[in-house]
């Protein structure tokens, strides 16, 4: 083999190894990242105000609080980061405890609130109450901060 090569003309060889290396690395990276973002961003239809005065999400420490959508505007529970909480006083109470813990460790925390556009206010209101009480328990000086997450058309962005 080596003798033949030495005599023949130089061949153009594409060395595939680095490409495969890189591709696999990228695949693994994106699989991991997409799993993380799926936990945070529950599939739902976010409200879509048109035209919207909303802004791109700021780069701050934030936690994501999802109101898990059920049938007909009802909710089936809440998810704070990756922890699920049931509906009702018990669930709200444990969520408040967790929020207080988060506020104590990250004083400038912002909470991204994601809720389906059909969800009724009675399922969302307890979240505000819980955040408020948690912020007070953690002795925050300034008011609790919430980001209401909406979706906008990227085709027609509004200034």
């Amino acid at each position: 083999m080596s003798l033949v090569h030495r005599k023949g003309p130089a061949r153009i060889d594409a060395n595939l190894t680095p490409m495969i290396d890189m591709t696999f690395l990228l695949v693994v990276f994106f699989v991991v990242v997409s799993q993380i973002s799926e936990i945070e961003n529950v599939e739902m239809e976010l409200p879509k105000p048109q035209p919207s005065a909303s802004a791109p999400p700021p780069e701050e420490t934030r936690s994501v609080l999802n109101v898990l959508p059920g049938e007909d505007g009802e909710a089936i529970g809440y998810r704070l980061n990756s922890i699920n909480f049931p509906l009702g006083d018990q669930g709200i109470e444990s969520m408040r405890t967790e929020l207080t813990r988060l506020y104590r460790t990250q004083p400038d925390l912002r909470i991204n609130l994601r809720a389906d556009r059909r969800t009724r206010q009675k399922n969302i209101e307890p979240v505000f109450t819980a955040i408020n009480r948690a912020a007070r328990e953690a002795d925050r000086k300034d008011p609790a901060r919430v980001n209401l997450v909406v979706i906008v058309d990227r085709q027609a962005p509004d200034a």
Partner: protein, 154 residues
């Protein structure tokens, strides 16, 4: 004599090019799915804890502008808006936004300052999209202090 000495052929190493092209391809494929066009409204929750210790006792409370929002119609698809008090009643969101924007105009006859508190009062069965749409209308009109009503009054 037909054959001559073949000249050294220029070898083109395409590996780095393919590397970079694949990286770009995968990056754009993934990035387009990830950026869902999500944006946020920033909302500062007012302290609902009753007595606040660091309040100025000489400061007069400004009467907030309270906007009630309900979802009516079949399946709650229709938004119903009303402003509490002696104000013209808006028919739809656009109407509300126009009225709020007019009431802020710097013409000397402005009804409100832009830091005048606006309270959005949803009912228990109001859809979240209608609440957010009303919030959006107030923010677009130029109000800077828009909050949601505490539970006992909704």
């Amino acid at each position: 004599m037909r054959r001559r000495i073949t000249p050294a052929r220029a070898g083109l190493n395409i590996t780095p090019m393919i590397d970079v092209v694949f990286q770009l391809l995968i990056y754009f494929l993934v990035a387009t799915n990830f950026a869902l066009g999500e944006q946020v409204f920033r909302l500062d929750l007012p302290d609902r804890g009753g007595v606040s210790s660091n309040r100025d006792p000489f400061e007069l409370d400004e009467e907030p502008l309270r906007i009630r929002v309900r979802s009516s119609g079949e399946d709650g698809q229709v938004i119903a808006l009303s402003i509490e008090g002696p104000y013209p009643q808006p028919e739809d969101l656009e109407d509300l936004e126009n009225y709020l924007a007019r009431s802020l105009e710097r013409s000397g006859s402005a009804l409100f300052m832009d830091d005048h508190p606006v309270v959005i009062v949803p009912g228990p069965d109001t859809r979240w999209e209608h609440v957010v749409a009303t919030f959006n209308a107030a923010v677009r009109a130029g109000f800077r202090s828009v909050v949601f009503a505490p539970p006992e009054s909704s």
